[in-house]
Amino acid sequence: MGESTGRWRDLDKLLLRPGNIVSPNFEPGTELRDDLQTYARVLVVGAGGLGCELLKDLALSGFRNIDVIDMDRIEVSNLNRQFLFRLQDVGKPKADVAAMRVMERVSGVNIIPHFCRIEDKDLDFYSNFTIIALGLDSIEARSYINGVACSFLEYDSDDNPCEETIKPMVDGGTEGFKGHARVILPGKTPCFECTIWLFPPQVKFPLCTLAETPRTAAHCIEYAHLIKWDEVTTKSSFQFCFCHSSSACSHMLLIMYILFQVHSGKSFDADDPEHMQWVYSEAVKRAELFGIPGVTYSLTQGVVKNIIPAIASTNAIISAACALEALKIMSGCSKTMSNYLTYNGLAGLHTKVTEFVREKDCLVCGPGVLLELDTSVTLQKFIELIGEHPLLLLSKPSVTYRGKTLYMQAPPVLEEMTRSNLKLPLYDLMDKVAKDVIHVNGMTSKNDTKQSCLLKLRIVFKGIDGMTDMDMASGA
């Protein structure tokens, strides 16, 4: 290991020496360094502005097993800040190129690219990683990964999180000169869903303003995008019908059809340059009509795709914070940031760490209420049980299990569709798993006032513990 003395000199200062602000289970030594390289598996979600930085930072911090997942291809406009990409890479998958470039520059690191959507991977894929680093730009994607990571979390019978089931996440995000980095240890620190209220509501213009009284360039663009697009779609298909019926003027109508066929009957795709160009030119016409200045192609992209200009330095700072937290979580060489760093470099520099608290009843990361049941309990009986349970006292509950609607109290059409489930054993309805999470909602009485609530329940079936399950699996 001659190479490591020099190469990991800086890292060794953190990993080989004891300290005062380390995590309680920190055991400095070369074994820790080796374990980190052997057993830590990092998933980087997103290979864009933040993702490129994250990959580089993690590889240089001594992580050796890294996967990266991204569904996008490289565009020319990425090149100013996504330093792993070159002009000749335009059109290639971001994940592939990013992985290749980092492996070329950092010896010993193995990066596996995944060019697909995050939803395309199953839970087993995600469960393989020791930590997940997020370099994303949407609430949806964060919420999805958060849900996946939290789904591995298990609680013991005292509602304490089981340490070995915690899937840590570090989440970075930037918006121009502003950014955040946060540490999510499901079960210990607030998960993404606990603090979703932190996100400001999206700016949406009233449709009638767009249609009648546009005042800004953004209004004109949204008019073209939301109203004009559909209008032309409907009309062009109409004209196409005419083409067939009247041959005399078919030539002219065919030309019209070609003009419109860019999106005849198609729904708008923000990633299709032709679509974007069409919206841009319609927005220009609209702006001219109302004498509004300022419609440009890049503003059109900005409004339609909700793009905020990205700044390379912000990405670098936020990524560095995330990579450092990942190293701290994995090695214990220092206490982790607790738990949400905000950075603002717009005027001078302002940065602050805020400790957010968990949502006690969070549906995603909370423990829920533990219930032990016999495998013979029917859904009907289960509904009666949760009505009598002192912690729940839930009347008129509806029940869902992993996307399956087991019973709905209302509306009548759904009640009717799910009624036949009532006489079936819950164990069967839950695909005969030994334990799992189920969600119920209904009315609960607190101080004589009825309140509607949505709860998470942890169901454990008696006599079917993990051991017997394992026996069955190996016996089969």
């Binding site: 839970l123 209220w197 213009f205 009233p206 939301l226 109203i227 995603v364 209302a410 799910t418």
Partner: protein
């Protein structure tokens, strides 16, 4: 933390798939909240709801409104709802499937209702939207026009507006535009 994973890694080698977790569909927080909204729906008697994709796919559904008063009495109007996985952070996307002569609904089915866009709040729910839509039929509003012509007629000549609505609902032309019959 890495120590734990080292131990776990070794255990995994011994008992692969020991917990027998079946590959299952994940449920988003948005879906859970929508389920709650749906199970607590308290629809006006003029309104029905349908789930074209069955009981396990509630994120897309249709609401049918049959106004029992006002200009649109006797009509039947179908709205499609598409709910995002981050509901209620984001409002459902609602469109009117029935072509209707209405100042606040354009001929492509876009609906101008404040709570669907600029005034959406996560405390609102599906019920609120349905009541909002219902309100559009009892009190069409010429001040927020999406269909400019209809709004002008409503403002300047309510009698004419009433007869235009009748004509559109029973199937026929209003100006250049043909409306298919939507009375029940």
């Amino acid at each position: 933390m890495i120590k734990l994973f080292k131990v776990k890694e070794k255990q995994r080698e011994i008992a692969e798939n020991a917990n027998g977790r079946a590959p299952v569909k994940k449920q988003s927080a948005g879906e859970l909240r929508l389920n709650k909204d749906i199970s607590e729906l308290n629809l006006p008697k003029t309104t029905t709801i349908a789930f074209p994709n069955g009981k396990d796919e509630l994120m897309n559904f249709e609401v049918t409104i049959r106004p029992d008063e006002g200009y649109y009495r006797g009509g039947m109007f179908v709205f499609t709802f598409a709910v995002s996985p981050i509901y209620p952070h984001e409002a459902p996307k609602v469109k009117c499937k029935t072509k209707v002569y209405h100042p606040n609904i354009d001929l492509e089915g876009n609906v101008c209702l404040n709570i669907l866009r600029e005034d959406w709040k996560p405390v609102l729910n599906i019920n609120t939207i349905v009541y909002g839509l219902h309100h559009l039929f009892t009190e069409p509003n010429h001040e927020d026009p999406l269909n400019h012509e209809a709004a002008t007629v409503l403002r300047e000549n309510p009698k004419q507006f009433e007869s235009n609505v009748r004509r559109a609902m029973t199937g026929g032309y209003v100006g250049q535009t043909y409306f298919t019959k939507c009375t029940c």
